[in-house]
């Protein structure tokens, strides 16, 4: 793409953010794991890019792709922030199709001139180039869940394979997902209360799937199942998940994802507990 390269070179100084990737899937796959709303806010610093999606002021998902994942990563200012339609962005990133021929890679170059300018995407596969311009919007304030390590009451790290099927089989007729974490039995329990009755999924603290189990006090919290169900996408991609709750009952799920090149990326979900907090169910 000689013509485009020339144009791009001349304009590089104009861009406050430029990133290049040999394999677009190292970026698009992670974004799919947080795609439960149309809009996302992108924060870029010299360390990498963070993409945030929120829903109902109760749940927030963040995808972190470090600068090392990219073949080229330049950020001219301290931070560059813009809001973009994530659905459109994902459609553009997969413009050559989502199931590529084995061995073919789609290359990506992302450029952003700054406030008021569109996000430019150059995608190339097998000599064919596509140029996309996506309009950006005013960045909106994103929630700060105030989740610091100081007030974390329990922390569990599980191998994702143990949770995958459980999450995909959660009773969707239940409005809530109740999470019980306790130093005593049942240790870690996921419960649903659906049309047919209740279901409880118990993980013992010493099971092989459990890498870490730290809990000082028993906590039972309920979260809206519909808000947490999208996290299943991140769970499927990940190899490990860390589950933390704090003293307010806020939930943090952090997923460790290894991309096709072996780089590590993170996705996290934060969720506030459901308003109508009922009495805890006694273990069966």
């Amino acid at each position: 793409m000689p013509f485009l390269t020339q144009r791009v070179q001349a304009e590089t100084d104009q861009y406050c953010f430029v990133a290049s990737l040999d394999n677009v899937r190292n970026f698009s796959t992670i974004l799919k794991a947080i795609h439960f709303r149309d809009h996302a806010t992108c924060f870029t610093t010299k360390n990498g890019i963070k993409v945030t999606v929120e829903n109902a002021k109760c749940v927030q998902a963040n995808a972190f792709i470090q600068a090392e994942v990219f073949q080229e990563f330049l950020v001219q200012e301290e931070t560059v922030v813009f809001r973009v339609n994530l659905t459109v962005l994902l459609d553009c990133l997969s413009i050559f199709g989502s199931n590529p021929m084995p061995g073919t890679l789609t290359a990506l170059r992302m450029c952003y001139q700054g406030y008021g300018h569109p996000l430019m995407l150059f995608l190339e596969e097998g000599g064919v180039v596509t140029v996309c311009k996506i309009n950006t919007q005013e960045p909106e304030e994103t929630l700060d869940f105030g989740f610091g390590n100081a007030n974390v009451t329990s922390k569990i790290i599980l191998l994702s394979e143990g949770l995958r099927e459980a999450f995909s089989e959660l009773d969707m007729t239940s409005e809530v997902l109740q999470i019980t974490i306790s130093p005593d039995k049942p240790y870690f329990r996921l419960s649903t209360f659906g049309n047919a009755g209740s279901s409880h999924l118990d993980y013992p603290k010493d099971c092989d799937l459990m890498e870490t189990f730290q809990c000082n006090q028993t906590q039972v919290n309920r979260y809206k199942l519909s808000l947490l169900k999208p996290s299943t996408k991140a769970l499927v991609l990940s190899c490990k998940v860390s589950i933390r709750t704090d003293d307010r009952g806020f939930l943090s799920l952090q997923y460790l994802i290894k991309n096709e090149d072996g780089h590590t990326c993170f996705v996290d979900y934060y969720c506030s507990p459901d308003e109508d907090v009922p009495a805890a169910e006694s273990p069966v």
Binding site: A196, H200, L201
Partner: protein, 364 residues
């Protein structure tokens, strides 16, 4: 009640539930003292529960996962909270507990006795499973009967009103030889009609368990009992059968006049094929009864049924071959055969393709 199902038997239980889910929307669970079903004596107080099939099925939804990760299944009835508790123990010590609430418990007793049925058929479930494959999925009922030459015939059943309509003009028939049956204790001519959907459901379970299916039946209208058994399980499926009046003679006379008009130069008579190639000859009837044309498919071990020499033979209309299986639901008589020759002889009155359904205005 407390029971434990271990290892691969959990998958069998799951398959049984899947199979039963095709039969009804509610499941009755009843614990048995010695594992044998017995009808209750009046006044006996038994613990029974009725649960929604959908809820129970959701526990066993993924058969693949059951096989891969479930080590044990505990089922118990919790009277106090009116709950059926199903607990699955997975690998790594992970447990999933389902508390399914009862629907109202009512006393249910099916009165049936295989021993009182005079007719019995037994065959590997796979044979019967393959035999029902060609039937349309939307077909409601099927007729099972013993035909000429001790062949077991399965034929799609149509209500008389449906049969008169030109839209539901396809009838499927399968014929299985006596040699495929482990037991065939029924005279020629007997037949019963029952629901295909439930039959398919119980067949799929029997097939997956790799067991023979025994069918105990009596006269039309009496229940038919389908049983599967082995050392671990015992299954009895009771289906109602259609009570039918024989209107065989009516049909024949009304089709008589048309028979003459439809005969052509093609004299080949399929009924003269080898006894193994059993085909029911069909005549289309036109006029007030509308018209129907039915193909006839024969499941035969041998290749004789459409190997007649010459292109003509495959395309012709059959002369009247009124030898329907006596005792079966009113036979529909049809003229055109399903297997048409691509090479149309010039004197074919129907053009290059066989007409499967007559125009109601009587052409053709």
């Amino acid at each position: 009640m407390k029971c434990v199902v271990t290892g691969s038997n959990v998958k069998v239980l799951g398959k049984a539930v899947h199979s039963l889910s095709r039969i009804g929307d509610e499941l009755y669970l009843e614990p048995l003292d010695d594992g044998q079903y017995q009808p209750t004596t009046p006044g006996q107080d038994l613990l029974r529960c009725k649960i929604l099939m959908k809820s129970f099925l959701s526990i066993f939804r993924s058969l693949a996962m059951l096989e891969k990760t479930v080590e044990k299944c505990y089922i118990s009835l919790n009277d106090r909270s009116s709950c059926l508790v199903v607990q699955l123990h997975y690998k790594y010590g992970v447990k999933k507990t389902h508390n399914l609430s009862f629907q109202d418990c009512e006393s249910l007793q099916a009165v049936f006795s295989p021993a009182s049925c005079p007719h019995v058929l037994r065959a590997p479930a796979r044979i019967l499973g393959e035999a029902v494959l060609p039937f349309p999925l939307a077909l409601a009922e099927v007729t099972l009967g013993i035909g000429r030459g001790r062949r077991v015939i399965l034929r799609s059943y149509q209500e008389k009103e449906e049969a008169d309509s030109t839209t539901k003009a396809m009838v499927t028939e399968m014929s299985i030889g006596e040699e495929d049956f482990q037991q065939l204790q029924a005279p020629e001519g007997v037949a019963i009609t029952f629901c295909l959907k439930e039959f398919r459901g119980l067949l799929s379970f029997a097939e997956s368990a790799n067991l023979p299916l025994t069918i105990h039946f009596d006269a039309p209208g009496r229940p038919a009992i389908f049983t599967i058994e082995d050392s671990l399980l015992d299954g009895h499926f009771v289906l109602a059968t259609l009570l039918e009046l024989d209107i065989h003679s009516q049909d024949q006379s009304s089709s008589e006049p048309h028979q003459q008009a439809r005969s052509t130069a093609h004299q080949d008579n399929f009924a003269s094929d080898d006894i193994d190639s059993y085909m029911i000859a069909m005549e289309t009837t036109v006029g007030s009864e509308g018209s129907r044309a039915l193909p006839s498919v024969s499941l035969t071990p041998g290749p004789q049924h459409h190997s007649n020499p010459g292109p003509d033979s495959e395309e012709d209309e059959d002369e009247a071959e009124p030898s329907p299986v006596p005792g079966t639901p009113p036979p529909k008589k049809f003229r055109s055969l399903f297997f048409g020759s691509i090479l149309a002889p010039p004197h074919s009155p129907q053009g290059p393709n066989p007409v499967l359904a007559e125009d109601s205005d009587g052409e053709g």
